[in-house]
Subunit: 434 residues, 2 copies
C-alpha cells in the first residue's frame, strides 16, 4: 500500500494532538483514506510529554521539514504569522501540500499564500483554523455549495463564551471570570486576542470569504471586545428574553458585506443562545437550506487535531488529482472571487439595545423619544426601571428596530448631550438570527 508522508512543524498542543491522533487511529484512518498516513518528521524545540516520538525523526529546525524531499504534506502548527508565513511559502515553493490550523496566517496572508499555491498546483487546507473540530469550513465550502449564503453568525472564541456563560449563570464580573479562565488555561496570559475579538475576527474573515466568495480582508473587519460588558446588562438582557454572546456576524446586503465581531443580544430560545462554556457554534443561513447550525469544541488538543487530520486525509485523497478538480481554496474558483465591498460599520444594520442613566422626571422620555424619531429610528420597547433609582437617576432601556449604525451614532451623541442624561449611553447590537 502506498503511503502519504507528513511532516509536522510544531509539537505543542495541536501538534501533539495531531501526532497522537494519527498514531492512535492509524488503522481507522487508513481504512478511510485507502493509504497509510505516515509522520516521517517532526520539528519541535521541546519534547511534548504526551507524545511518544521515539520512532520519529525529530528536528529543531522547522525549515528542515519543508526541504525534506520525502515529505508530501507539511502541517504547520507553530502559530503566529511571521515564521509560519515564511515556512508555508517555502513549503509551497518546494511543491509541498500544506495543512494549517493558523487563523491569523490565513486571515492576514491567505490571499498571497493561495496565489502562490495556485501557481505551484498544491493545496492549502485550514479546517482547523475556524471553530476547532467542527467541520464548518467543509460544510460551507462543499455541503452548502448549492446555496447563495445570506448570512452567518458564530460563537467562534471559546474563551469569550466561557466568560459570558459564567457572567450570566453565576452573576460574576468580567475581570473575576477572566482571572479564572487564565488559571484554568482557557485564556492566555495576554488575553487581548480573545477578549478583544481579534481571534474571532480572524476566523470570521475566513468564514465570510468562503461563504460569499470574496478575498480575505481582515483589515476591514469591525472588532469590538467584551471587556466593557457589565453584569447589569447581562441581567437586563435576560429580563428582556435575550442572551449576550460574543458573535462574529457576516451578512450579504445589496450594498456590500457586513463583517463584524461584537457582543450581541440574541433571543434566549435560539439554539445558539444555549451554546455555553468553551463550546463553539456557527449558524449559516442559505437561500435554499435556510438556517443550519454546527456545534462542537472550538479548541483543545484533540478536537483541533481532528480537523487537521481530516484535512490531511483530504489531501491524501487528492494527491493524484489535477489542481483544477480540487475544491478551491476559498470555495469559489480563484478567478471568480467577487469584488463586493466590505461595509464600514457605520453602514451596517442591526437592532440596538441602549441603556441610559436618566433623571427621574417626566420630560426625559419625551426628549429621548424625539431624538430617536427625528432620525427615523423606531423603538420596539422601552423600560424605565424606577425601582432601581439611585441618586435621582433611573436606568432607561430602549430596544430599537433595525437601523443603520450611523443613525444610532448620531442619536447616541445627541442623547449624551442632554442635561437629563448622566454618563455614556451603553449600546449593544441585537440580532434575531431568525
Amino acid at each position: 500500500m502506498k503511503s502519504v508522508k507528513v511532516g509536522i512543524c510544531g509539537l505543542g498542543t495541536v501538534g501533539g494532538g495531531t501526532f497522537n491522533v494519527l498514531k492512535r487511529n492509524a488503522e481507522e484512518i487508513t481504512r478511510r483514506a485507502g493509504c497509510a498516513i505516515e509522520v516521517i518528521q517532526v520539528a519541535t524545540r521541546a519534547r511534548n510529554p504526551h507524545c511518544d516520538t521515539s520512532n520519529t525523526l525529530i528536528t529543531d529546525d522547522v525549515f528542515a521539514v519543508v526541504t525534506n524531499p520525502e515529505v508530501d504534506v507539511v502541517v504547520e502548527l507553530i502559530g503566529g504569522d511571521t515564521i509560519a508565513k515564511d515556512l508555508v511559502l517555502q513549503a509551497i515553493e518546494n511543491g509541498k501540500h500544506v495543512v494549517t490550523a493558523n487563523k491569523a496566517l490565513i486571515a492576514v496572508h491567505g490571499n498571497e499564500i493561495f496565489a502562490k499555491a495556485r501557481e505551484k498546483g498544491v493545496s492549502v487546507s485550514f479546517e482547523a483554523a475556524v471553530a476547532g473540530g467542527i467541520p464548518v469550513i467543509k460544510a460551507i465550502r462543499e455541503g452548502l455549495a448549492g446555496n447563495r449564503i445570506n448570512w452567518l453568525a458564530g460563537i467562534i472564541n471559546g474563551t469569550g463564551n466561557f466568560i459570558l456563560s459564567e457572567m450570566r449563570e453565576k452573576g460574576r464580573d468580567f475581570a473575576d471570570v477572566l482571572a479564572e479562565a487564565q488559571a484554568l488555561g482557557y485564556a492566555e496570559a495576554d488575553p487581548t486576542f480573545d477578549v478583544e475579538g481579534i481571534d474571532a475576527a480572524h476566523k470570521l474573515t475566513i468564514l465570510a470569504s468562503i461563504a460569499f466568495g470574496i478575498p480575505l480582508q481582515f483589515d476591514k473587519a469591525y472588532t469590538e471586545g467584551i471587556t466593557q460588558l457589565t453584569t447589569a446588562d447581562v441581567n437586563y438582557a435576560e429580563a428582556l428574553g435575550y442572551r449576550i454572546k460574543h458573535l462574529g456576524v457576516a451578512r450579504r446586503t445589496a450594498d456590500g458585506i457586513e463583517l463584524r465581531v461584537h457582543p450581541t443580544m440574541i433571543p434566549a430560545d435560539r439554539l445558539i443562545a444555549n451554546v455555553n462554556g468553551v463550546m463553539n457554534a456557527v449558524m449559516v443561513n442559505g437561500d435554499a437550506v435556510g438556517s443550519t447550525l454546527y456545534y462542537g469544541a472550538g479548541a483543545g488538543m484533540e478536537p483541533t487535531a481532528s480537523a487537521v487530520v481530516a484535512d490531511i486525509v483530504d489531501v491524501a485523497r487528492s494527491l493524484s488529482i489535477a489542481p483544477e478538480a480540487r475544491v478551491p481554496y476559498l470555495a469559489f474558483q480563484d478567478d471568480a472571487l467577487s469584488s463586493h465591498p466590505i461595509l464600514p460599520i457605520e453602514q451596517c444594520e442591526s437592532a440596538y439595545y441602549l441603556r441610559i442613566q436618566a433623571q427621574d422626571h417626566p420630560g426625559v422620555l419625551a426628549q429621548v423619544a424625539s431624538i430617536m424619531s427625528e432620525r427615523g429610528i423606531n423603538i420596539e420597547s422601552i423600560m424605565q426601571l424606577e425601582a432601581e433609582e439611585q441618586e435621582g437617576l433611573v436606568p432607561m432601556i430602549l430596544v430599537t428596530h433595525r437601523v443603520q449604525e450611523q443613525l444610532i451614532n448620531e442619536a447616541v451623541t445627541e442623547l449624551e448631550k442632554l442635561d437629563s442624561i448622566s454618563g455614556a449611553v451603553v449600546r449593544i447590537r441585537v440580532e434575531q438570527l431568525a
Copy 2:
C-alpha cells in the same frame, strides 16, 4: 467552459426544488464548481407548477434519462425502492454517476448498488437521504475522518419531532397532533413510516454505516415508534429534567454495534433536547473531536434540494478523477468494511424510565426494589406520586442506571406478574448523550 449534464428523474417536491435551485443559483454554483451544471432532461408525469421547464427537454419515461447518452449525472428523486432501484442500477450500468435523496433505496439496497457502481467506476451520492439539507453525511464521512466514532444520536424525522414538540409545549395528545401534522402536510396520509420510526431507521442505518465502516444492515435495526407515548409520560419526563425525543441511536461497543430507533428521554439542557418542531439534528461523538452537533431543516423542497445540489457539485468536480481517489461510498474503502455485528436489542444497553401503576400500600416498593436488585439493576431515582392516586393505584416512576435490555425485559415480566401492579409497565429508554 465545459458543462456537466444532469438528468432529473422526478419533478415532485425535491425534484422541483432541485430544478429551481440549480436554475436560480446557476451563477453562484458555477463560480464554485468551475463548470456550468446544466439540466438537459427531466422525467416527470405531471407538470410542477413551481418550475419553469419551458426550455427543458421533458419526458414521462424515467428510463429515457438513464439511456440518454448526453447525461453525465442521473438525479433519482422518484422515491420508493422498486422502480427507483431498477433506474439507479440501469443508470450505473450505463456509466452514469448517480445522486439520490432516497433513504429507503440506500438503506435497503445500498450494498448491491455500491457493488455495481464500484464495478462501473461511477459515484453514487446520497447526502439528501439523511437529515435533508444538513450536510451530515459529508461531516461524518470527511469532516471527522480522523476520528474513531464512538456513537451518534439523531432527531432524523421531522414529523415525529413536530408531534413530540407539540405534545410537550401544548399538552396535546398524539392523535390530535398527528391529525394536524397531516393537515399541514408535514405527515403523509399514511404516517406509518414516520411515526413507527421506519423512516428514521433507514437514515440511522446509513449514518451507522459511514460512521463505523460497516455494510448497510437495515433489517437488523431495532425500530420502535412514538404512537404509544402519552402526555402523562411527556410531563413526568419534564418533571425529572428530561425531554422525550424520537432518536436514532448508533453506538459502538466491544461486542457489536447498537442500532436502534425509539422514544428516548434526554436531559433537558442538552442542545439536541431543544431542537423543536420539524427541525432535525444529529450529534456525533468521536474519540478526538468529542461531541459535535449538526442542525437544520430535515425535509422540504429547497432544504433537501440544497443537499442534492451539493452532491451534484461534488460529482461535477470528480468527473475527471480516478474512482479510487474519490471518497468511498460508505466513508471506508469498500474492501475495508468491518464485520463487527449489529447487536440484537436485548444486548443493547441504556438507562430506563419505568412507570408502574401500583397499589398504594407500603409493601409494593420493597417488591419492586427486590425484583430490580435480583437482576443487578441499579435504581437512580424513584418517585411515588401519592397525589395522583386513583382507585387505590398510584404511579410509581423509576429511573435506572445503564443496564442491558434483556435484564429490564426480565424485570418488567416479573413486575407485571405482581398482584400489587396493575396493567403494563411503561418503559422509555434514557440516554445522557454526555
